[in-house]
């Protein structure tokens, strides 16, 4: 076989395998969109579940997920950004920095079910928050923390040192330099990362199983110490453990579609933001 033939064959194998990946994704999306599309209606999004969750809507699960996303981001975003700034801008000692990065990577590598165990043991039991939005948000927040830190770090690395030196040379303090010069440049990337981590948090199930998620709740939460329903857990419940698994199939398709749409919209938003803010920074 000549080397040209080998190249030809190899490249075609790559091409075919890549298109298999493409086909798998399209298959999954097609399956969820086609079967879930007819479920999507205003009622589905804004009504309570009825008849043992075989009819009605998924309103409480949507609200629950929104609460959890908001709660966890309220925790993870400020702390994660501050931590990212600290690790990238303040640690000069490379050993210490390596240690911090190692810990962040370790935290990121811990499986989500372990976060669930930990969240239950610390927030639900030891701190006595009970199964609650508070416990669930904190657990999800810890899970999102390494993601936010990494995003922040990467955004800061992308800021050229000349900006820092320029500002410091003008006599500005380190803190002012970071606030007035570095952060504004890094912000678009940080925000995109943030949006993508929202997508991650909103789909997590294992960490909320034992910290907040309710099988079925006929009412909306009134305080942060209430349990809530959540979209991913709802999908799990109605597709596996209900007594009427077959009857609630359509509800499951609808819920899966809402979850996927949520992630899709966040992805599009992140890309749009990246482009929009990216241009703005360049123009200044």
């Amino acid at each position: 076989m000549t080397k040209q033939t080998k190249e030809y064959i190899a490249f075609w194998i790559f091409r075919i395998l890549s298109f298999i990946v493409l086909a798998i994704l399209i298959w999954i999306l097609y399956f969820i969109f086609v079967r879930g599309w007819h479920m999507l209606s205003w009622d589905f999004l804004t009504k309570m579940p009825e008849d043992g969750m075989t009819k009605g809507g998924i309103y409480p699960a949507i609200i629950g997920t929104l609460y959890l996303v908001a709660g966890s981001m309220l925790f993870a975003f400020p702390i994660g950004v501050l931590a990212g700034i600290y690790i990238h801008e303040y640690t000069n000692d490379s050993k210490f920095k390596r240690f911090m990065k190692l810990m962040t990577n370790n935290l990121a590598g811990i499986p989500s079910i372990v976060f669930g165990l930990f969240g239950m043991s610390l927030f639900v039991k030891t701190l006595n928050f009970g199964d609650s939005i508070l416990a669930g948000s904190l657990t999800l927040g810890l899970l999102a923390l390494p993601v936010v830190i990494r995003v922040t770090e990467e955004a800061l690395i992308a800021v050229d040192d000349s900006f820092r030196h320029g500002s410091l040379a003008l006599g500005a303090s380190k803190l002012i330099t970071i606030r007035k010069v570095v952060l504004p440049i890094a912000m678009p990337n940080i925000l995109t990362g943030l949006i993508l981590s929202i997508g991650r948090v909103s789909g997590e199930t294992a960490p909320i199983l034992f910290t907040v998620a309710a099988y079925f709740l006929p009412k909306l939460p009134t305080s942060i110490f209430d349990q809530v329903m959540a979209l991913p857990y709802h999908l799990y419940v109605i597709s596996t453990s209900g007594t009427k698994v077959q009857e609630s199939r359509d509800m499951a398709y609808g819920t899966a579609l809402v979850l996927v749409l949520f992630v899709l919209i966040l992805n599009l938003l992140a890309n749009a933001l990246r482009r929009y803010l990216g241009n703005k920074v360049k123009m200044n």
Binding site: K3, E7, I28, I113
Partner: protein, 401 residues
């Protein structure tokens, strides 16, 4: 005054930064503490449920039993004291349920007030008896002998082949089937995903033109963002029936279904990480190869792949780590039978799925609860080792440059 205030706020903010920066380390530490406090607690407790004790005749030489032996006695796999180191005599099993075979209701008393004495007497009179009852029926001057039950211990926990965490009278906490189930599903997932993932990353980094790449890239990002329950749902509705029909099995929920779903989920990680590694190959190195008359494929497999091998290895290890820790999708499609896995076409149960499925029913502080935390510890250690491995592999890459 104003200056002092400014300095103060600067110090304050720097303190805040330090605290935030340390939070990941603190969290990892707390996770270790909470996980291992509960998990290691398991190894100080007895596998006997509901304060049951085992009482035998005084002359019986058997001093202690393991949880596994107790189960075998109850399953009548062990029927002779000889097998337990005693005399050659059949074992006569006695539980509270057998009471009516020995005594009338009057003899026991309306409120079981004579029961402890009666139990004491039959233990005394029947030499080959093995009686199991709760410790509140023990009397002060016991004529029989209490057989000690070995505490839960790490070797039995890890090497035990039976997982019946709520069995009576002694729970069976062998996690070997769960560990093997986890590894089986994850390793096959990687075997499926790795060739496809690496091929796609090579295609995207070295072969495809800009237009194709612009289509593939966001799609792979989306694939990475889809929640694992959705993959589980897809697996449940599409892959499971497919396997059921293709292989003509009684159930489609099998290790194979888990591996396929995990493989799909691992693809984005593998593709992105190894594509980055491949792109990191210096341009000049590729040019040198082409300038020597190599074609693109020769350049890829003789120069680019060897150069980016550590990055690709890191991608594979990361993928395994993700697969081992994945909970929901696996829980939904693998059938969750806690038996030693023999083939891919059989239901299996993984560690994360076990925790997710059982923690809700395990009473806090009980043996079962502690056992699930101990499983969490195993999972934590596994993923920690994988993380260290990844760090090691990718630090080697940096050194090379």
């Amino acid at each position: 005054m104003k200056r002092k205030f400014k300095q103060f706020t600067e110090k304050l903010i720097e303190g805040l930064l330090l605290i935030s920066g340390s939070l990941t380390s603190i969290t990892v530490l707390l996770i270790v503490i909470f996980l291992f406090k509960e998990g290691l607690g398991l190894f100080t407790t007895s596998p006997m449920e509901n304060k049951n004790v085992i009482v035998v005749n005084k002359l019986n030489p058997v001093e202690h039993l393991t949880a596994g032996q107790i189960k075998k006695i109850f399953d009548q796999e062990i029927t002779n004291w000889k097998d337990l180191g005693g005399k050659n005599d059949t074992i006569l099993l006695f539980t509270i349920n057998d009471l009516s075979n020995y005594f009338s209701e009057e003899e026991i008393g309306e409120n079981f007030e004579y029961l402890p004495e009666k139990l004491n007497s039959i233990v005394d009179s029947i030499p080959n008896l093995l009686a199991v009852y709760t410790d509140k029926y023990l009397v002060k001057e016991l004529k029989g002998k209490i057989v000690k039950v070995d505490k839960n211990n790490i070797p039995d926990f890890i090497l035990g082949r039976e997982w019946f965490p709520t069995a009576e009278p002694a729970v069976q906490l062998g996690v070997l089937p769960l560990i093997l189930g986890t590894l089986l599903v994850s390793i096959f997932a990687i075997l499926f995903a790795l060739p496809i993932g690496i091929a796609t990353s090579i295609y995207m980094a070295e072969v495809a033109n800009e237009r194709v790449r612009k289509i593939l890239k966001p799609i792979i990002e989306l694939l990475a963002g889809i929640p694992s329950v959705v993959y589980g749902f897809f697996g449940l509705i599409v892959i499971v029936p497919l396997i059921h029909d293709t292989f003509n099995l009684p159930v489609g929920e099998t290790a194979l279904a888990g591996s396929i779903v995990l493989a799909i989920m691992a693809l984005p990680t593998i593709i992105t990480v190894s594509e980055d590694a491949i792109r990191n190959t210096p341009r000049s190195m590729k040019e040198a190869s082409l300038a020597l008359g190599a074609n693109r494929w020769q350049t890829i497999h003789r120069v680019v792949l060897p150069y980016s091998m550590s990055g690709i290895t890191a991608a594979a290890i990361l993928g395994i780590g993700r697969a081992i820790g994945e909970t929901m999708a696996v829980l939904m499609v693998t059938g969750n039978a806690a038996v030693m896995p023999h083939s891919l076409l059989q239901p299996v149960r993984t560690i994360p799925a076990t925790i997710a499925a059982e923690l809700g029913e395990a009473p806090q502080g009980g043996v079962h609860y502690q056992a699930l935390f101990a499983l969490g510890c195993i999972l934590f250690i596994l993923t920690l080792l994988i993380n260290i491995w990844v760090e090691y592999v990718s630090s080697k890459q940096k050194f090379k440059k």
